[in-house]
Symmetry: C2
Subunit: 110 residues, 2 copies
């Protein structure tokens, strides 16, 4: 499941900021590192990790290397998120909120 790796990779703030910056369009590494407080090799490492998760793709262009977003893993992550909504979950939720009516089968001597 790629959503697990996407979650792990996007949990780092710097790496997430790099990914968000690519949302405006493909960029080269030095252009990406320009507005960050960390060094360029750090950005390179982050891009490598993002690439390992399938979240970006790269393309050589002369001496530069252009990175762009890939949305595939994001779709899987969204599907995983959607699995947390449903009738069963809602039923349990309302059961929890209704005090005095627990629906999970433990003895409740009042």
């Amino acid at each position: 499941m790629a959503y697990e790796k996407a979650l792990t990779v996007l949990s780092d703030p710097t790496r997430r900021a790099v990914f968000e910056k690519l949302r405006a369009g493909p960029l080269a590494v030095s252009a990406l590192a320009k507005d960050f407080p960390v060094s360029r090799p750090a950005i390179s490492q982050h891009l490598g990790i993002l690439k390992g998760a399938g979240l970006v793709e790269d393309k050589a262009e002369g001496t530069r290397r252009i990175y762009a977003i890939r949305t595939g893993p994001l779709e899987e992550l969204r599907d995983w998120l959607d699995s947390f909504w449903g009738e069963a979950l809602d039923a349990y939720k309302t059961a929890l909120e209704n005090e005095g009516d627990d629906g999970h089968g433990q003895d409740r001597t009042g």
Copy 2:
């Protein structure tokens, strides 16, 4: 922004597994820790972190403490994910692919 904290919190495998187990319905701490290879205090700490991100809510029931999922931060996270789709991004993507047809596909996201 709650989606950032949700991402960080859900990046840990054990914590994510705890959260997924709660998807089937509210559970007490010991019931949650029952099928995990880590100790009960570890589960307690994970639940505290999940609660700090608003991903779970708890309710005292005798000596037990029942935890249940809260979907609020998940909605914000899904909204954030949706921000990565759009005409502008697609336009950039196709522009990148058309610029030089090298046909390289680094789809090997192992």
